[in-house]
């Protein structure tokens, strides 16, 4: 009995250490990125492990001023627009699919859900051609459209399952009182769905903010580029001023981390409801 107890305690220590080491393997590179961003360029090369003698906060100012700021607006605008459109169109579709009665109801739902089976990579080349012929190539819309569209299936799936679980009584009495469909949808249905809409919006925000491939191909001018692509450019532009580049990486990474730390519950609800990886 005694020996067994020591054995199991040794296991506990081992498992705890394993997690500690793994957590270290995550925290260390990330903190290295932060520490490096505060070094002078000479320190960056001569003492990659050490701490900066004098924190160079101006790297953040420069990284934002000469690089990130220009891309920041594009990223924010494109992300907000994609979130707005994907949530709005998906809620509208979900409302019809869960409440209304018509022959092609299942077909309509499957048509939307079927989009989950088509990965964005498959459409890259033909979307590129399509966007050129629609004259949206190399504009903000070049990214807002695909980000919205490729989020509709999953967002509809999330919102629909939530709406199915809601009672219809309130809506029906509102109709009896003479409310229009628009009023019922915007004043009753949308507000009740707030929790799931928050989750769906966060997930869409995350994928749009971080998306790389479409942003690389569909936008050519500097003035429409988003942060992930901008960072690649900064690398060339800042030359070997690596600490400044590190500062830019830190700024871009912290946005999503802060968002997550504030809305952990909504994030996890959305992720686990469908197990779809961006």
């Amino acid at each position: 009995m005694f020996a067994k107890k020591i054995g199991s305690n040794a296991w506990k220590v081992f498992i705890f250490l394993l997690f500690a080491v793994y957590a270290f393997a995550i925290i260390y590179p990330l903190s290295w990125m932060i520490i490096s961003s505060l070094k002078t360029n000479t320190e960056f090369f001569t003492s990659p492990w050490g701490l900066p003698a004098q924190p160079q906060w101006h790297h953040y100012y420069e990284a934002v001023k000469y690089g990130v700021a220009a891309y920041f607006f594009n990223s924010v605008f494109i992300t907000l627009a994609s979130v707005l459109f994907s949530v709005l169109f998906s809620s509208m579709a979900s409302y019809i699919i869960t409440r209304f009665d018509f022959k092609l109801k299942n077909a309509a739902f499957l048509f939307i859900l079927g989009g989950l089976m088509i990965s964005p990579e498959v459409t890259l080349v033909s979307l590129f051609k399509l966007e050129q012929s629609l004259h949206v190539y190399n504009t903000h819309w070049a990214l807002i459209i695909p980000y919205t569209v490729f989020r509709i299936p999953f967002t509809t799936f999330l919102i629909r399952s939530y709406m199915l679980s809601l009672p219809k009584a309130v809506e029906e009495s509102a109709y009896i009182d003479g409310c229009s469909t628009f009023k019922v949808f915007s004043r009753i249905v949308m507000p009740i769905c707030k929790p799931i809409i928050a989750s769906a919006a966060l997930l869409t925000a995350m994928t749009s903010w971080n998306e790389f491939m479409f942003a690389l191909v569909f936008v050519e001018s500097e003035k429409y580029k988003t942060i992930p692509i901008g960072l690649m450019n900064l690398k060339g532009q800042f030359g070997t001023n690596y600490p400044r580049l590190m500062a830019a990486l830190v700024v871009s990474a912290s946005v999503m981390i802060i968002l997550f730390l504030c809305f952990q519950k909504q994030f996890v609800r959305g992720l686990t409801a469908g197990s779809v990886k961006g």
Binding site: S8, I26, A93, I96, F100, D101, T181, F212, A253, T272
Partner: protein
């Protein structure tokens, strides 16, 4: 209610989603299939019908095609073991009583990499892999191996493995989070009953957690494989498929064909290969997670 049969409303509310899906998802998919049968360049209007010649071109370059498939295959196998497998073991460990206190900390830390843009992660790791200033070589040298000087991303035998490691680093915590929620949904009395009956912790995992998590494990496995088939960003940012074409995967090969070599037909053929593979995975996933059911 009468309003629930109003055709005008139905069409009005469904139209945006359906039309956008049709125009920007299904239509490009069909176009990809058609375009893969033509030889065409990005800025010339002419398209020459070549049948399956583009596919033939890809497959007949045996060495490259083999490398590409091998790389995607390695990606899938390693990701399944680490993300779907190890992720679950980690989740089970964190649910053990003695880890409960520290669970929120580890859970959050392990999850954080999956929130950061892959571009940022890939650029950070590029620095870590750097043979001269990177911390990996310096750490190994500091341990006493003074002559150690691996080229990592610059070594054609190691490059793909370097990319694979980064993906694991980024996503183990993500899969762990999914499994954690799954395990927390299991009735706690089952675990208690088994423990009272004298089951060891590994036995509890083997005979209670695993069977009850079966569906969730299948879903994470399929999602992971799906991700491995279409992997693009990590590889593109860190190696761009090189050195040579040693770390090429399907998506980077497609990108190279389309936007470097201007062989749009070949690129579409690659796209269709990705489509067939991902479609099978996605169909499996939908079936396993029962998303199509009420």
């Amino acid at each position: 209610m009468k309003v629930y049969r109003d055709k005008r409303i139905i069409i009005l509310y469904l139209f945006p989603a359906i039309a956008l899906m049709a125009l920007f998802v299904y239509y490009p998919l069909v176009q990809s299939i058609v375009f893969s049968l033509f030889k065409w360049a990005s800025f010339s209007p002419e398209k020459q019908w070549v049948g399956f010649y583009n596919y033939h071109l890809i497959v007949s370059d045996t060495a490259t095609f083999f490398t590409i498939l091998r790389n995607n295959f390695f990606y899938a196998v390693v990701s399944t073991i680490f993300q779907a497998g190890l992720g679950l073991v980690f989740a089970a460990c964190l649910e053990e009583k003695f880890m409960r206190g520290t669970q929120p900390f580890f859970r959050t830390v392990l999850f954080i990499p999956s929130l950061i843009a892959m571009t940022v992660i890939a650029m950070l790791w590029q620095f870590m892999y750097d043979p001269n200033i990177g911390m990996i070589n310096q750490a190994i040298q500091a341990l006493g191996f003074k002559d150690f000087n691996a080229q990592w991303l610059g070594d054609s035998n190691l490059s793909i493995w370097c990319c694979i490691i980064v993906s694991q680093w980024q996503y183990i915590g993500y899969c762990m989070m999914l499994d954690l929620v799954g395990i927390q949904k299991i009735d706690g009395e089952l675990f208690e009953a088994a423990t009272i009956d004298g089951a060891t912790r590994p036995q509890v995992f083997r005979y209670i957690t695993l069977p009850l998590m079966k569906e969730s494990i299948l879903v994470t496995t399929v999602v992971t494989i799906l991700g491995s088939v279409k992997v693009f960003t990590e590889v593109y940012v860190m190696t761009a498929g090189g050195p040579g074409r040693s770390s090429e995967v399907l998506a980077t090969a497609m990108y190279r064909a389309a936007f470097k070599n201007d062989e749009m037909g070949v690129a579409c053929a690659y796209a269709i290969m990705i489509f067939v593979l991902t479609f099978i995975c996605a169909a499996l996933q939908l079936k396993l997670s029962h998303t199509g059911e009420e």
